[in-house]
Amino acid sequence: MLEFITSNLQIIYMLLLMIFVGVELIEKVPSVLHTPLMSGANAIHGVVIIGAIIIMGQADNLLATILGFIAVVLGTLNVVGGFVVTDRMLEMFKKRK
């Protein structure tokens, strides 16, 4: 366990720093933007698709192929759907004359 922590120290540093960055980034958000922001963040965590692509790409048995394929589909849904929905929401905030 201890060895695991020390061998992944770089990642743990990143993890801690990113927590603070995340908090700093969205402090003082006007409530108007809560939902688009939630939706945008929702699309960003779709980055989990990369993991799905890795398991799919390395799949050498039936279980990994089936689950990997489903994971790729679901991950893509999250990413594409998430960004498109967010864009649709924000499109409405456009300044109009």
Binding site: M1, V32, L33, A43, G46, V47, I49, G57, V72, G81
Partner: protein, 466 residues
């Protein structure tokens, strides 16, 4: 060489997430921010497919197949969804991400069991996979339940000992996970599947008792869960872009959840325990609340036409009736008659924060007519007519006067300061919090019953006829 390029791509991807999220939190840069994050995601995905070591070219067909199916389905459903159903949609997409993280854990655990004999399993990896499985499953199932509740497919369900069951279940899940990670038992896979099942059940029980009005908070929380689950994947593959994206959403999402709770003046625990209006409602239901006065569309039209200042308070009723376009039409009509019209936007009016803004913006209401609560409240004093369109709890004076009320302490719109209040509602039914609204019984309040869209259309006709 390839792996170096990939690392640079991941670096750019991570940076685009940070910048994108930052820009998303400001109204005038938000849309660009979203596109920047999407760009980062695209290059990270393409980079992984072509440059990641160990991706078999024979599996390309599956990868691209999955990407195409997901993209088509995602785009269609995201384009087709009604503005009123946005929160459900977000919840559903969030669930997909959670499921993706969950499946990654399942495959990787099986993979580990193949590579190592059970007593030499790498503990750190087992823990990460376990966390990804638990959090991913809760997020997946929880989001699906939240989606079902928001779209009215699933009702609220509160068991008396719900909290006890939930805590018990979570304890068992964690205990099992710790047991597997420390002792690495030979039948680890069985335990693994039991944890999977229990996490899914926990996901159901976790969201089930939470009231529909609190769903946005829950979705935001589940959103940050999925972020953490994605970050677990980043840990597992030593993949920086997954780690950055996941943790950013995890921490920003948690903060956003807290901010949303604050906007409703409630604590997160309060939301999660699901006791919104559930407990204290039995008292004083049938007390003499006074009489209500009804008004018809003709009189309302007269009131509006001869007012000099009108404030419209939109609520969920407007969204349900899809009345935003008619509402905008009425506003324009009144403006041409020299009436000043504004909208008072309560931060939690509707079913999600910003719901009303999105809805009214959709029907081309100009941005500066939408006034936030703090800025509009001082203006009610000088307002002739307040037109409440399908809002209830956000204008309930009990939030200020009645300490026993479940919404006591929530900031509200001070509509009672206006000279005249017309409340458009479908019936006298209580709002989402399930409590009576004394505003309706005040002498200067008149009730106009009916579907918001029909009623507004009639009012427009009457104003024109005057």
């Amino acid at each position: 060489m390839n792996s170096h390029i990939l690392q640079i791509i991941y670096l750019i991807g991570s940076l685009s997430f940070i910048i994108g999220l930052k820009m998303l939190s400001k109204p005038n840069t938000a849309r660009k921010g979203n596109l920047i994050a999407a760009f980062g995601m695209t290059i990270a995905i393409i980079g992984t497919i072509f440059l990641y070591e160990g991706i078999k070219t024979t599996n390309y067909i599956w990868i691209f197949g999955g990407l195409i199916i997901g993209s088509v389905l995602g785009t269609i459903s995201a384009k087709k969804v009604q503005m009123t159903q946005m929160p459900e949609m977000v919840s559903l997409f969030n669930g997909m991400g959670g499921a993706c993280a969950m499946l990654i854990s399942v495959v990787e655990f099986n993979h580990l069991l193949h590579e190592y004999s059970f007593n030499s399993l790498p503990q750190g990896q087992v823990i990460i996979i376990m966390l990804g499985l638990i959090i991913g499953s809760i997020s997946f199932i929880g989001s699906i339940v939240a989606w079902g509740k928001l779209s009215g497919k699933i009702g609220d369900l509160t068991l008396k000992i719900q909290q006890l069951i939930n805590i018990g279940l979570l304890t068992i899940i964690l205990a099992l996970a710790v047991y597997i990670s420390i002792f690495l038992p030979p039948n680890a896979l069985t335990y693994f599947y039991i944890i999977w099942l229990l996490s899914a059940i926990y996901g159901i029980l976790f969201v089930m008792p939470i009231g529909g009005a609190d769903m946005p908070v829950v979705i935001s929380l589940l959103n940050s869960f999925t972020g953490v689950a994605a970050a677990m994947g980043g840990f597992l593959y030593d993949n920086k872009v997954m780690l950055v994206g996941g943790i950013l959403v995890g921490s920003a999402g948690t903060l956003l959840t807290v901010v949303m709770c604050k906007a409703m003046n409630r604590s997160l625990t309060n939301v999660l325990l699901g006791n919104f209006g559930g407990n204290s409602s039995s008292s004083s239901k049938s007390e003499a609340l006074g009489n209500i006065q009804e008004i018809n569309t003709g009189d309302t039209a007269i009131l509006l036409k001869y007012a000099s200042k009108v404030i419209i308070v939109p609520g969920y009723g407007l969204a349900v009736a899809q009345a935003q376009h008619v509402c905008h039409e009425l506003e324009e009509l009144l403006e041409t008659q020299g009436v000043s019209v504004k909208y008072a936007i309560h931060p939690v009016a509707g079913r999600m924060p910003g719901h009303m803004n999105v809805l009214l913006a959709e029907s081309n209401v100009s941005y500066d007519k939408l006034v936030e609560m703090e800025n509009i409240n001082p203006e009610f004093n000088t307002t002739d007519v307040v037109l409440v369109v399908g809002a209830n709890d956000v204008v309930n004076p009990a939030a200020k006067t009645d300490p026993s009320s479940p919404i006591y302490g929530m900031p509200i719109l001070d509509v009672e300061n206006a000279k005249k209040i017309v409340v458009m509602k479908r019936s006298m039914k209580a709002g989402y919090a399930g409590i009576e609204n004394m505003l309706f019984y005040q002498p200067k309040t008149s009730m106009l019953f009916g579907d918001a869209k029909n009623t507004l259309t009639k009012i427009i006709a009457e104003v024109k006829a005057l």
